[in-house]
Structures are given as structure tokens and as C-alpha cells.
Symmetry: C2
Subunit: 244 residues, 2 copies
């Protein structure tokens, strides 16, 4: 198999992080192209693919993954691909669709998390939509975050195979994404999350399991993991973090 090339904005975890976690858990080598020194690598080749010049199947946005002759865009689509290639998803059709369905719901959650700080326009500064961000975050923490989090907790609780993983009794890629979301929400909304987590014992246990997974633990301790910061999806703005 040829080496994977991941293309994503340097300096943030963003949506690229969901792909990184899958690549790391699979233990496959990859080049994080836009984070490598400018020249053959760096931002330039990423912008070339995004420009769509001379490419028939150009991605709309990063992240995208180059896998041999394939150029695959959209986070959940990349995970669909990696999940089947590296045994991070069930092999049967029903299980594969269920993993993809869970990932879509996780992606919807991520979109709503992003919009807490950018409810008006992703092209405007946070400061220029601060009042709207406060209003949206309040609704998010009161209504939307609990709805999503309780859903995943309920999925874990209702499983015949036990509550350790979202699917079956082993790691699949939605587990990794749920881990990332819990980590990110803790970073962004520590006050609200400390209250919300009280009713999420299974979700927290899954988060802890993923965090302690040898390959993931090694990744998190490495320089390959970009720290959380205020340019990504999960931003810690204390004025948006209200007690639930």
C-alpha cells in the first residue's frame, strides 16, 4: 500500500483530527502534508488541489486524503474508506451503514459546536459576532449538546454487546470521533461539561478507554497532536461557557 497523504490546515485540529485519530489507531504511516516544510510540501500542494485546476474530482474543502490514485474528501467519507481498509468498522453492510450513520450524527454535532462561536459567518471574526455567539451557545448548552450527548449515552446503554464501544465489542472509528468530541467539549465548555458529564458515565468511560489505547496515547503525547486552541472547532471562550 502506498503511503497516505493527509491534507488539512496546519495549526488546528479541526475536522482533520477525526482523520488523524483513525490513521493513528490503524497504525498506518501518513504524511500530514500541509504541516511539513514549504516546498514540495506545505500549504501549496493543498491549495493546488483545492483550486480544482486540472483535477476532475476536486474536493470542496479540507480535509482530504490522497490514497494512491484516490483523492477522497469529506471527513465522514474518508472515515468510511479508512474504516473498511483498516478494520475500524464492521465488515457487514448493516454494520458499515450504522458506523457511517453514527459518524454523520457526530459530524452534525461538530457543525453545531463550531457554530457556537461562528453563528453568523465563518468568514467574520468571533468578536464581530460575539452577541450572537452568546445567544447560540446558551441554546447549544441547554438544548442541543444534552440532546446529542444523551443520544450517544443511550446507544451505549442499549447495546446487547455491552456498553464499552459504540458498535459491537471493539474499537471502530465512531468511538474515536466521540472521544475527540468529549475532549473538545471539555476544553471549550469546562463548566457546562462538568455538569453534563454526570449523566454520561458510559460515554466518559469510552472516552477514557480511547485515551488510554496504546496507539492513541502515544499519538496524544507526540508532536503530531496539535493542541486545542482558539482557531479550531473547540474554542475556550469563558463568556460562552455557562452552567447548565
Amino acid at each position: 500500500m502506498s503511503e497516505y497523504e493527509l491534507y488539512y490546515w496546519p495549526g488546528i485540529q479541526g475536522r482533520g483530527e477525526f482523520v488523524r485519530l483513525a490513521l493513528e489507531a490503524a497504525g498506518v504511516p501518513y504524511r500530514d502534508v500541509a504541516r511539513l516544510p514549504e516546498g514540495k510540501d506545505g500549504l501549496k500542494p493543498m491549495m493546488y488541489f483545492l483550486s480544482g485546476k486540472a483535477i476532475e474530482r476536486a474536493p470542496f474543502a479540507a480535509p482530504f486524503l490522497k490514497a494512491g490514485g484516490l483523492l477522497i474528501g469529506q471527513t465522514a467519507n474518508i472515515l468510511l474508506f479508512l474504516g473498511s481498509r483498516h478494520d475500524l468498522a464492521p465488515a457487514d453492510e448493516a454494520g458499515r451503514l450504522w458506523a457511517n450513520q453514527l459518524q454523520h450524527t457526530l459530524a452534525d454535532f461538530v457543525d453545531e459546536i463550531h457554530d457556537t462561536h461562528h453563528p453568523i459567518a465563518s468568514g467574520l471574526y468571533y468578536e464581530d459576532q460575539l452577541e450572537e455567539a452568546k445567544r447560540r451557545s446558551k441554546d447549544f448548552l441547554k438544548a442541543r449538546a444534552p440532546k446529542y450527548l444523551r443520544y450517544f449515552e443511550r446507544i451505549l446503554a442499549s447495546k446487547e454487546a455491552g456498553p464499552a464501544h459504540l458498535i459491537g465489542d471493539r474499537l471502530t472509528y465512531p468511538d474515536l470521533s466521540l472521544f475527540q468530541i468529549i475532549s473538545g467539549l471539555r476544553y471549550a465548555f469546562p463548566r457546562a461539561m462538568s455538569a453534563l458529564e454526570k449523566e454520561l458515565p458510559l460515554t466518559v468511560a469510552l472516552h477514557d478507554w480511547v485515551k488510554a489505547h496504546p496507539k492513541i496515547a502515544a499519538y496524544l503525547a507526540s508532536p503530531r497532536r496539535v493542541p486545542f486552541n482558539e482557531q479550531g472547532i473547540f474554542r475556550h471562550y469563558p463568556e460562552l461557557d455557562s452552567p447548565v
Copy 2:
């Protein structure tokens, strides 16, 4: 094959419409359960599945599709399933991933269209977020809608197989979704769209092709098609429709 059952909120096209268009183009029978008279059908069985009681793989939200023993949620995931079952997607892995990738980008576009009238909270009335909606719509029509629409126009223009369809030289499910988006944008933002469409000849031609497709034309003329209205994704609020 057993009959399909579609579950979606009655009274709106919403995200269910992307599934309906695929079922109609495939020419397969389906029961639009929540739109049937209350009793065995109607909203009650849909709410049962959404409650997650006694179901291991419950959907987070509608639409979802019952296909024999499978219960499939998330619009793009349902289309991934129907696309491969009914020849509405390429059969090879690269083509299947590309169709899914396009569908994800179309779904992101739909999310942003929805948020023009609900930028703060989907649980609040439009009137209670009117000022924010005006601000978000202005940015949407100036920056986001042109970005998405030019992307799909460029995809059509750059194809070796010609510009009639998004993939290859025949109908696939992303064509149906792009048709629905153009129809909906024309309904919601007629002033802005009349300006934007001038640079979208290929997209408009594809819209017209889908509209004239015998199965789709019959569907659009039937009572199975819910009319556009101000409860769905595409809402005509003249105060949000500015000249671009």
C-alpha cells in the same frame, strides 16, 4: 425485495425530499409512513423509532428508511444505500466514494441554507432570530452560496464525460440533490438566484434535465410531492432575499 418505508415529518419537504427523489427516480414503491393516516401509520410509529425504546440502533433524527430488517438514518447514508441498490451511483469504489463526497458537500450546503432563517436555535421561532437571520442571509448570499454553486458548476465543466451530469454520463443521486437545491434556492431567494444563475449554465441545464426526467416529472406533478412552504429548509422570506 420488501417494500421500503420512509419516515419523515409530514407537511415539509425537508431532508426527506432528497430520499424521496431517489426512491422516485429508482421507480421503487415506498410508503411515506408519517404522511399516511394515523393508526398503524402516521407520526406514532416514527416517534416510536425516534424514542429509541427497545431498539439497539435507533436513529437520532428523521429521515430514516426501513428496508427489510435494516433501519437506516442520515440522509447521505440512506442515499449511499439506495444508490448502490438501485444503480443511482457508480459501482466502483472510487465512483461510490466520489458520489458520497459530493452528497456530503450538498448536505453541508443544505445545512447552511437552513441556518439562514435559524442562525441561533432551531427550537426558536424565526421571528425571534430575525435580525440574526438577516445578517446570516446577507453573508450566505454574498459568500457561501456563490462558493458552493461555483464549485458544482466547475465540477460539471471539468468532466471528461461531459457536463450533463455530476458523475459520468448518466443520472446518479447527487444530480437529484443538486436539482432539489436549485429548485429550493429559486423558491427561497428568487432575486438573488436570478443574478447568481447567470454564471451557472451547466447547473441550470442539469436542473432542467432532472425536472424533465419522466419519473421525476410525474412525481413533481403528483400529490406525493409536498409543496415548498415556510416550515421547511427553503423558506421564502422576502426580507432575507437581497440582490447579490
